[in-house]
């Protein structure tokens, strides 16, 4: 089946950043996003999602390469210095290119 190349940008961050990340994703041209509550650990310690200040989210954004790159740069420059943030990008194929 024919697919179209897009980028999947995954941002795992403190839940306090949710509103900002959604706003940024839209501003940098993403047509949509998916959010989930997650838990895990890293250099900032364990984040167990037990209460308000301990929650983390995973945001998945599928968009074109330029949007993914600009959004990733923005997140790295704006939030990564002070917040627990992990992000990575992957190549994906989508079936309906107009959606992404």
């Amino acid at each position: 089946m024919l697919t179209h190349a897009r980028k999947l940008l995954v941002i795992i961050a403190e839940a306090a950043l949710e509103k900002e990340l959604v706003r940024d994703a839209r501003a940098f041209g993403a047509h949509g996003y998916t959010l989930s509550d997650v838990r895990g650990g890293g250099v900032h310690g364990e984040r167990e999602a037990a209460w308000e200040a301990d929650r983390s989210i995973e945001m998945k954004v599928i968009c074109n390469e330029s949007s993914a790159e600009r959004l990733a740069q923005h997140v790295l420059a704006t939030y990564a210095p002070n917040f627990a943030v992990t992000l990575f990008v992957a190549d994906v194929g989508v079936f309906r290119p107009q959606k992404f």
Binding site: A50, W51, E52, A53
Partner: protein
């Protein structure tokens, strides 16, 4: 000893013993919504039966007290604790704001000893949530170039979960009144103590997990976490006496002054002052001050109130 405190200690022990006990996050969320609403509704029902004019000076005093506390603590944290400006302001904001669960335990301790309190104390609780946070943000930004997003801040202050539910509960209780509240009374009043006990089990697990942060926080912050509520409790009791609260009301205002927020403040300060290290503020608030207040602090603040009342 109040049974709810033992639930808290059980949570701490479970955590320290590395038990696999875990309160699911949606249950924690549901319990906190319940507690905020129940406290609000109970206050609202009783508030509806008394003139509002008498409440106004006490409400203003509570707001002023919440806003003043960060200005008192900030220089101590910066000069004595030698903490950076952002951390000093963030920790000061946590203490300026209030802890709903500490208040709930205070209410429960007073009720057990048959000490009467003013019915509008939940309103003072709701009003004291935001001023300390706003004062803390001002302290963090003073002299800095970064601007403050006042619109977002005001929105969070009024529509943030805890203030919204407390004030919403107060309004619902005031509109419904004592007769019609009976239909929801078994849930919101009858089960209150048991739900509070469950919530404190979870708080014990959370506080136990924070004890590790204290090693990094150092001796100053641990001492600060105990001395601060003891001193702020005196300040709260004096203000309570000044505005004519009963000994029970004075003890609760002292408890509010001595308590530190762990719901509204950490979230607000994380966004407003991202350069502050949350492990420090949350470590001292949940690892030291919260356990101190619910075990030793509240009886002490009741003692203050009785002593001041003569």
């Amino acid at each position: 000893m109040d049974p709810v405190v033992l639930f808290f200690l059980l949570g701490v022990v479970a955590r320290l013993a590395k038990s696999d006990l875990r309160v699911p996050e949606p249950l924690y969320e549901a319990l906190s919504i319940y507690l905020l609403l129940a406290i609000g509704i109970k206050g609202g029902v009783e508030l509806a039966q008394q003139p509002l004019g008498a409440v106004l000076p006490q409400a203003l005093a509570a707001i002023a007290l919440g806003a003043a506390i960060p200005f008192i603590l900030f220089p101590i944290l910066m000069r004595v604790g030698r903490l950076p400006r952002a951390d000093s302001a963030s920790i000061a904001a946590h203490y300026g704001s209030v802890s709903v669960v500490t208040f709930a335990v205070g209410v429960s301790v007073l009720a057990k000893q048959n000490v009467e309190t003013e019915p509008h104390m939940p309103l003072l609780l709701a009003l004291m949530e935001a001023p300390g946070i706003i004062a803390g943000i001002l302290l963090a930004r003073m002299g800095g170039a970064q601007r403050i997003a006042w619109g977002t801040l005001a929105h969070e202050a009024v529509f943030g979960k805890s203030v919204l539910l407390l004030l919403g509960g107060i309004v619902i209780g005031a509109i419904v009144g004592p007769q019609d509240i009976t239909s929801i009374e078994p849930l919101f009043m009858g089960l209150f103590k048991g739900v509070l006990a469950l919530f404190l089990l979870e708080m014990g697990l959370v506080a136990g997990a924070r004890l590790g942060d204290l090693k990094r926080a150092g001796v100053f912050l641990v001492a600060f976490g105990i001395v601060t509520p003891v001193v702020l409790g005196v300040l709260g009791a004096l203000v309570g006496q000044l505005v004519g609260l009963s000994p029970g009301g004075t003890a609760l205002l002292a408890t509010l002054a001595a308590s530190a927020s762990y719901i509204a403040a950490p979230t607000a300060m994380r966004i407003a002052v991202p350069e502050a290290n949350p492990a420090l503020s949350i470590g001292v608030v949940l690892g030291v001050t919260f356990p101190f207040n619910i075990t030793l602090g509240i009886p002490l603040y009741l003692g203050y109130a009785r002593w001041i009342a003569g």
